[in-house]
Subunit: 487 residues, 2 copies
């Protein structure tokens, strides 16, 4: 027996994400498509033995990743980053003056004027200040302090280490929504903590209800020691947006129960629909005044991967920590120090997200046109998704206020039976068939946790309009056939 | 008392790196210098109250970061990355054809052709293959398999989670060298593991001696459960290079004692000096043949931050895992999945490190000239450092075969006394004075662990020649005065 196997006694039973299983299968299918195209080219007259797929390419809308689906990066971001990497461009007149100015000011914060230098652990000082200015502006003046901000490679979970490396004898518990962003669940469990599920109310548009938090907390008794509440607002996978009142109730709850509040707010820029407006936890907390505003411990996350920028691959995000004890802050600082620094270009992307071109800037007109186009696309796609999906028998989708659709799927008993026989979750089975037969990857509800006996699929809707139309076309015809096959 | 303070009972006594204390003080000094320059400009005739510093700028050679000290990035790398970010450049004839080709081929591996898409957890498949080709070539044909390679944001320590999240009742122990790269020590301890120190033999040019490993392992009895041995080759902070024979001995040792071998080989490209040659642990292991080559569990790290490229800020590295059990590999894969992916541009930088321009490529002549220049600079600096430092009374520096000088410092008793009074480590005290009085940041040996009663300083020598000359000039005159003051 190997050394490592011995010291990880049960080789921790971390769940395998079905999403990754689908991604692996998709790679094989892509390879098959490539080869069949190749053999079509080379042996036009040979009769290929391969099973032909009724599609030419796989469309992946299972990730929250705009560029992956073909959305274009913002020109301003592309140009500024290119100029930062290759400063000769800064001095050439091939780039707009606003771009060159921004690049120059970004490079000034780098030692040696190079994106290739390590930065301070918490991020480049000027960029950290930029984040705190953004937050203050966003929150109507409620102050944000640079000392409380850590720029990280993506809106990462380092902060959880604090909770979990605890020497308390009980196992650490974190209240997590059902359904919940899957990587969050994996991170929490990967660190050895216990997730304590609370249900969002699907029938009420995935509302977070405080009675349910009370129930969940009770349920943890004797199982673990709950120390934190994790909320995602705007939601993922379910695209709801919390009201100010709902946020106030949650804050009251964590204060009473003495929980650390982890507010994942990475989707704050993409809210749409009637009566929906993003309000940050930080802002509501400040508005509630003392004693709450001085005592509730809050971490709020944001990321350059999301919003109109959608720069997932550069890896830049931040966490703002509010009301944490100084000793704890020092400890967190040291924990962060074990990770060198966030990638410089991710820090730059975040900077541009925090302060995009303003009216009057030479780069503003193009920037504004591009973001307006994304907004229009999003609104169009939401409308189409609801029209199409809610008209398919067995599907039922709540209003979508963010960037994901998470319709419920009432599967026929025969399909559920078949899935069981194959050792699969019913919605994972559905998704695998959708991939095999229609070349579309969406992710199954089972990856996110869902109420016992319910099934869902999640897909991303910030895609080019024609891509979304193609997805809906393929989904509709696949679904109709699927329901027939298993009726 | 705050919630978080309660659950981290002793707010973990992680040591504060003196290096970071120096960095903070340096920021203040820089600000003072900026202000005094400003007041010089504005109030030419006012007599400033400020204490004047006898230097105009702070030079920082305390990090292993070439660009920070003013070394120029490689043009090929800059140009390719700029073209990847702003693909219009690929189609312009402003960039050499070799650059445009490389950019095109890199972008082909990205979904949507954008660096802004998430990649697979382990890295872009083509980049992972490139790494394994590099290793196979480097190791004279000993095969490397893509499945065993994980591209990460820097040569990061994720892998340690595996060891530490163990549910074994004993605390996990990791044997670590004295002196040792400080972030490694912090990471291991930050994860809750125990470091078990083994001394390198300074008098023998910092040789790693196997008897010392035996002693260290014995010393862990009753304290913790040692599961891994961490070696750094070429060394940091001490710049030694292990011989093939020494590596064989270490491999025998871990095999006998059933330890997981963590080989940090990030400095493999910068070896120089007589009879020094880098040989990888992987290669030696393969050469030793079965049963060792089939059983010893090895992780080997490399990073785009080091070598001639020195792209620390982009964050790209890899770990190759050898002989790990399949179940453990699956677990590691899941652990990695909790971290999205390594930054795409870091992955690209790594790709160029793995396969730089080759003779015949249009980009080769410039690339070759630039790397040759860096090599010459390094050799020149090493020579000068040894000449100067070994001529200063109280200093004694072993041969330098890598990128750091780590001279021993025999401090006068009065200086040690003074440091004690100020609650500082003697070498940290020396470094702080060097910063205050000469504007040079080097790091103190105490950050790395050192044999009881010995003191050192570490500084980076991959700097422009004139920067190194200035560092040596300031160090010499400061040191002479310091020794006088405390004699
Ligand atoms: C709710 C939520 N939080 C955080 C993230 C993390 O994004 P990143 O790590 O790219 O910043 C995501 C990404 O999909 C998300 O959906
Ligand atoms: C021995 C050693 N290992 C690893 C690293 C990590 O480098 P990075 O995280 O930038 O890849 C360093 C950086 O200085 C180092 O000195």
């Amino acid at each position: 027996m190997n050394v490592l196997q011995e010291i990880i006694p049960n080789v921790k039973n971390m769940k395998q994400l079905q999403n990754l299983v689908l991604a692996r299968r998709a790679s094989q299918i892509k390879e098959e498509l490539r080869q069949s195209e190749f053999s079509n080219l080379c042996f036009k007259f040979t009769c290929s033995q391969r099973v032909r797929k009724p599609f030419k390419e796989v469309i992946n809308v299972s990730w929250g990743d705009a560029h992956k689906t073909g959305m274009k990066p913002l020109s301003f971001v592309q140009q500024v980053l290119a100029a930062c990497l290759y400063p000769q461009l800064v001095n050439s007149d091939r780039l707009p003056v606003g771009v060159r100015q921004r690049a120059q000011s970004l490079l000034k914060g780098c030692d040696g004027g190079s994106v290739g230098s390590y930065t301070a652990t918490r991020g480049i000082s000027e960029r950290v200040h930029r984040v705190s200015e953004f937050i203050t502006r966003r929150d109507g003046g409620a102050p944000s302090y640079p000392e409380n901000i850590f720029i990280s490679p993506g809106s990462q979970w380092n902060i959880l280490n604090v909770l979990v490396n605890s020497e308390a004898s009980h196992r650490t518990g974190v209240l997590t929504p059902v359904p919940c962003y899957s990587i969050a669940l994996m991170s929490i469990r990967g660190l050895g903590a216990v997730t304590v599920p609370y249900n969002l109310n699907e029938e009420q548009g995935w509302e977070l209800q405080v009675e349910e938090l009370h129930r969940a907390l009770e349920s943890a008794k004797g199982v673990c020691n709950p120390v934190a509440l994790y909320v995602i607002n705007p939601g993922n996978p379910a695209g709801y947006v919390q009201s100010r009142k709902s946020i106030q109730e949650v804050i009251q709850f964590v204060s009473e129960k003495r929980l650390f509040l982890l507010a994942d707010e990475v989707y704050q820029d993409c809210v749409h629909g009637e009566n929906s407006e993003f309000v940050s936890y930080k802002r509501v907390l400040a508005e509630m005044g003392p004693p709450l505003s001085d005592t509730v411990e809050l971490a709020s996350f944001h990321s350059a991967s999301k919003g109109f920028m959608g720069e997932c691959g550069l890896r830049g995000g931040y966490v703002e920590l509010v009301n944490l004890d100084l000793a704890v802050m020092k400890y967190i600082y040291k924990l962060f120090s074990t990770d060198a620094c966030a990638p410089v270009l991710g820090q730059f992307a975040l900077d541009m997200m925090m302060k995009p071109p303003q009216p009057g800037d030479p780069s503003y007109p193009l920037y504004s046109m591009e973001t307006q186009h994304i907004r229009t696309t999003l609104v169009h796609n939401v409308k189409r998704v609801l029209e199409v999906v809610n008209n398919l028998p067995g599907f039922c989708c709540q209003p979508v206020k963010g960037v994901f659709a998470f319709p419920r799927l009432h599967l026929p008993p025969k399909a559920i039976q078949k899935a069981k026989e194959m050792g699969m979750q019913p919605d994972a089975f559905y998704c695998m068939r959708l991939l095999e037969e229609a070349g579309v990857i969406v992710s199954p509800g089972c990856d996110y946790g869902q109420k016992e006996g319910t099934h869902h699929i999640r897909f991303y809707i910030m895609t080019p309009e024609d891509t979304m139309e193609e997805v809906l076309r393929r989904l509709s015809s696949f679904h109709t056939q699927f329901m027939k096959d298993f009726s």
